[in-house]
């Protein structure tokens, strides 16, 4: 780090990168994005199933085990999209939360290590 301390431009670039690295994911927005994607996927799967195999709901109907009210029908397209959005939102939100927590812990650990390394020479001066 000694070089960076003497070069203001390099030091600024490093600080910028450090700042950006620990920028959090937006929990609500990621929940929204994953929710929309999951809703689209479930609606599309149901529509494709209805168009290609309208008389045989298996295997998509198995989703009803986890999503009460879901069925391989045109009404099920809407119910599936709603369930997809709900579960996708939870997945996205939790993902962002977990990633932010890990990054925050890493930040604390890195800072503690840096401070420890900085004060290591202290005993030499006594």
């Amino acid at each position: 780090m000694a070089d960076a301390q003497h070069d203001p431009r390099q030091e600024q670039a490093l600080e910028e990168e450090l700042e950006l690295a620990f920028t959090p994911l937006h929990k609500f927005c990621l929940g929204l994005a994953v929710g929309v994607a999951a809703a689209v996927v479930l609606a599309a799967l149901t529509v494709v199933h209805l168009l290609r195999s309208p008389d045989e709901p298996y295997p998509l109907v198995l989703l009803a085990q986890y999503m009460p009210g879901y069925a391989v029908s045109w009404g099920g397209v809407v119910v599936g999209a709603a369930w997809g959005f709900f579960s996708g939102f939870i997945v996205g939100w939790f993902f962002a939360f977990a990633r932010n927590v890990v990054m925050a812990i890493a930040k604390v650990v890195l800072r503690a290590k840096a401070e420890l390394a900085e004060s290591r020479g202290f005993l030499d001066h006594i």
């Binding site: 450090l18 920028t23 959090p24 937006h26 927005c29 996927v41 290609r52 295997p59 990633r99 890990v102």
Partner: protein, 189 residues
């Protein structure tokens, strides 16, 4: 190696680890929850479909112990996947240091890695089931041909499945990144 390279390398490792842990928790938690729901519902044919995961995850079963085994498997697989799909640069979409408070996602990079990861997973599982053989190899997985025309449980089918999931994953990655970036911009403005 310059100081900036060292810092960049360290940050990339931390970022990849964070994405790995988050994906692992989601995948492991999801499989654990799916198993527990079936165990609690009970019934004579409890988890006869989810239980087929034992073909690719040895030791897994639809039971309380299986839920824990699934959690471990899901976490390990998700960790690897997360490291793969995690952005190499935290703000890979666009760099706006002034005023930026949340990460942006690079749609193309994310879509490509998500699609590749999903495609590789299907390719691997298909070939694993094909190699294992049996009377009806990949009986359940072969239902995918309904959504992916031309897909079947053999080597050629695994290539077709890979191509489909690469394309679908790319579109989904773009969709997630697009919606996320727009929503963050609105939330921050």
């Amino acid at each position: 190696m310059s100081d900036q390279d060292v810092v960049h390398g360290t940050l990339s490792r931390i970022n990849a680890r964070a994405w790995g842990i988050a994906t692992g928790l989601v995948l492991g938690g999801g499989l654990c929850l799916a198993t527990i729901i079936l165990v609690m519902k009970g019934g004579p044919d409890m988890g006869q479909h989810l239980g087929r995961l034992t073909n690719v995850l040895p030791g897994y079963s639809v039971s309380w112990l299986g839920a824990f085994v699934g959690l471990v498997y899901g976490f390990v697989i998700g960790y690897g996947l997360g490291r793969l799909i995690g952005p190499r640069s935290p703000l890979s979409g666009k760099r706006e240091p002034s005023g930026t408070t949340h990460v942006r996602l690079n749609g193309k990079a994310w879509g490509l890695t998500l699609g590749a990861a999903a495609g590789i997973a299907l390719f691997a599982v298909t070939n694993l089931l094909d190699v294992k053989g049996g009377e009806h190899p990949g009986e359940f997985l072969s239902n995918l041909h309904l959504y992916l025309p031309g897909y079947r449980v053999d080597f050629v089918g695994s290539l077709i499945g890979f191509a489909y999931l690469l394309a679908i994953g790319f579109v989904l990655g773009e969709l997630v990144a697009g919606v996320y970036n727009r929503a963050v911009e609105r939330a921050e403005s």
